[in-house]
């Protein structure tokens, strides 16, 4: 009886926590259940949500991608430079002096600019993944190096200056609404659906789980692991670039400094969502709930006007608590 209650708690525990948090939030702040706040909450959560989808893929194979925050910044500034008619040239100084709305001279026709940025994101993910795979170094270490490298590249690219001016369609990605739902949330939703379809209903997706769960067993049953170990990092890189582009739209500029530390929020969301850091266990559904829980906690702390520093402490404790609960459950299961 007791164990039944426990397993019920571990199956639906996240859901219960989410609902309890929503109830608590509406009690703590009368502002919570206003349309403006809910829209704000969901569009802020979407950015972390998109990153967390990519991170779920990576964590499923037992890896970790610390470079996503840097890729967000790099994608944003790369997009900015493309809009100002440059590919990879370092900018002359005059361009940073703000003289009203700038005239945009995109290098490529509009959707192609975005696709180019996404491809660069994919390339960065591919580099991390293939170094990790080829030299058998845990992706956490490789992506740590890439994190420093990409951030340095992004910031030195324009001397740390933001580049103002994004075209309307991109601002629409950040600020637009469809049926009253903010665009970022819709993008997040469609990415989630695509990811769920891929992971649950294709052979490719099931093989990612298989390789993540036990690489040796997977190889013995005829799966070539390299593809499945590099692909998740590519997904993660592309999705980070997506966030970078939408973020440029949100801020009206390409900014190399955004996204710092966002990787930890994404990791936290995935882990709260029940994915195991040793791979093979977890899913997009859990991650979405994890993102919502993280977002709720942020939102409520902001509504209650708690300072940034205690907020940071709280975030650290939440991450550790989620990991600890997971560790305790895992050890209980293994003792049975």
């Amino acid at each position: 009886m007791k164990s039944k209650a426990l397993s019920l708690l571990s199956d639906y525990g996240l859901f219960i926590i989410l609902i309890a948090l929503i109830a608590l939030s509406s009690l703590l702040s009368p502002l919570f259940f206003t349309a403006a706040n809910l829209k704000n909450f969901i569009s802020q959560a979407s950015y972390n949500g998109i990153l967390a989808v990519g991170m779920t893929f990576v964590i499923l194979i037992g890896g970790i991608d610390l470079s996503v925050g840097s890729i967000v910044g790099f994608a944003s500034i790369l997009y900015g430079t493309l809009m100002h008619g440059n590919f990879f040239t370092f900018m002359p100084n005059e361009i940073f002096i703000y003289k009203g709305a700038p005239v945009l001279t995109p290098v490529l026709p509009l959707p192609l600019d975005i696709i180019f940025v996404l491809l660069v994101g994919a390339l960065l993910g591919f580099i991390t993944g293939s170094i990790s795979r080829r030299f058998r170094i845990h992706s956490f270490i490789v992506s740590l190096c890439m994190m420093i490298f990409i951030r340095g590249l992004a910031v030195s690219y324009t001397n740390g200056q933001p580049l103002f001016g994004v075209p309307d369609p991109v601002s629409y990605l950040a600020y637009g609404e469809l049926f009253g739902i903010p665009m970022p949330a819709l993008i997040w939703l469609s990415i989630c659906i695509a990811a769920i379809l891929l992971l649950k209903y294709t052979r490719f997706g099931r093989r990612i789980y298989a390789v993540g769960g036990d690489e040796v067993a997977a190889r013995l049953s005829g799966i070539q692991p390299s593809l499945y170990q590099v692909f998740p990092l590519i997904v993660s890189g592309v999705l980070a670039a997506v966030v970078g582009v939408i973020m440029s739209g949100r801020m009206g500029c390409g900014d190399p400094k955004i996204g710092e530390g966002w990787q930890t929020d994404a990791i936290a969301a995935v882990v709260i969502g029940g994915a195991s850091l040793s791979g093979g266990r977890g899913g997009i559904g859990g991650t979405v709930i994890g993102v919502l829980i993280m977002g709720l906690i942020n939102n409520v702390m902001n509504l209650l006007e708690i300072d940034a520093y205690p907020q940071q402490m709280a975030k650290g404790i939440i991450i550790l608590a989620a990991l600890a609960i997971q560790g305790i459950f895992a050890s209980r299961n293994s003792n049975d």
Partner: protein, 334 residues
């Protein structure tokens, strides 16, 4: 070609020869670029500036030897400095900000700060062993928490002016030699002896190399995990105290990203991520190489941001080279 790679990387990391060649090249470039580079005065100065990174790299060596990783060291570093500052300005809570008001005699404050740093390391160790959180995830969480804590207790402010004894830790000289460098060298010698000639050291290597076998031969790997994280916390706190003395401030923003430099120093030195192979003398070499690279980049007038980019590449190369020659690398989970 394969044989060459095997030769260069035969001890599982960068071989000693390659590391000394890199060091020599760096020294030659530096002395060409800055004529006074090889003067006694400059060498002593460099010794001092390397010591701060050196302390946390020492602690990191223990952790990496055990097969773990500690991302929280820089946060503990900053936290310790802030704590020392607050202890010496206890009156901050009574309204007088600038005056020194010691909570206790300074040496006792040092002991308290060191104890707090060690306790934070101990907590890391307990999180990892008792709650079964992966090393890097646990220390990532505690890094965020401790840095936030350092900002919270100081209100994000810099605490200026420490007392004479604290300043001596960072700026003091014994004869021509900086005190902090002596402290660092003594720490290195103690650590090297502990690792090489004590039962503790030998068991630590065994537990890091293969926890399962160690456990079967009666060594409790978890106990060693807890101890190494405590050591790492201790050295981070020591570095924090010395840096506070050097800068004459308690500053919550100090040492951001230093955990990566420490990891790089340890790996470049030749300690393997897989655990159980390496040592502190190697790490000292790694610290000197990292310090020289940074020094050279500054000498060349390269701005901080491109410097970070280059350091990222250096770290990546070090990690890749370090993994050549080890069969399982560090893809294995700890």
């Amino acid at each position: 070609m394969n044989r060459l790679v095997k030769y260069i990387t035969r001890d599982g990391g960068l071989s000693a020869i390659l590391r000394y060649v890199v060091l020599l090249i760096l020294i030659i470039i530096a002395s060409i670029m800055a004529p006074g580079f090889l003067s006694m005065q400059n060498i002593l100065n460099l010794l001092r500036s390397f010591s701060f990174l050196g302390f946390i790299s020492l602690g990191m060596t223990f952790v990496i030897l055990s097969g773990g990783i500690d991302l929280s060291v820089a946060a503990i570093f900053a936290f310790s400095g802030v704590l020392l500052g607050l202890f010496q300005h206890w009156g901050i809570y009574l309204g007088h900000v600038d005056k020194l008001s010691l909570l206790a005699p300074t040496p006792i404050l040092f002991l308290i700060v060191l104890a707090v740093g060690s306790a934070l390391g101990l907590i890391n160790g307990l999180l990892i062993t008792k709650l079964r959180i992966t090393d890097f995830a646990a220390t990532l969480g505690s890094m965020i928490f401790i840095r936030g804590f350092a900002f919270a207790i100081s209100g994000g402010r810099t605490i200026f002016n420490l007392d004479e004894i604290a300043l001596f830790m960072g700026r003091g000289m014994i004869g021509p030699v900086p005190f902090v460098a002596i402290l660092f060298l003594v720490s290195v010698i103690v650590c090297a002896i502990v690792l090489r000639y004590t039962v503790f050291g030998k068991r630590l290597y065994a537990a890091g190399e293969n926890p399962v076998v160690a456990k079967l031969s009666g060594i409790n790997p978890q106990k060693y995990k807890i101890i190494v994280y405590t050591i790492s916390g201790f050295f981070a706190a020591l570095a924090g105290i010395c840096m506070a003395g050097r800068l004459n401030v308690g500053e919550p923003r100090v040492a951001e990203g230093w955990e990566l430099d420490a990891i790089a120093a340890v790996v470049i030195g030749g300690t393997s991520f897989a655990g159980g192979r390496g040592g502190v003398i190697k790490t000292v070499l790694g610290v000197i190489i990292i310090g020289l690279i940074r020094n050279l980049l500054s000498l060349m007038g390269i701005l901080p941001d491109p410097q970070e980019m280059i350091m990222g590449l250096v770290l990546l190369f070090a990690v890749v080279f370090g993994s050549l020659g080890t069969r399982k690398g560090s893809l294995a989970h700890t």
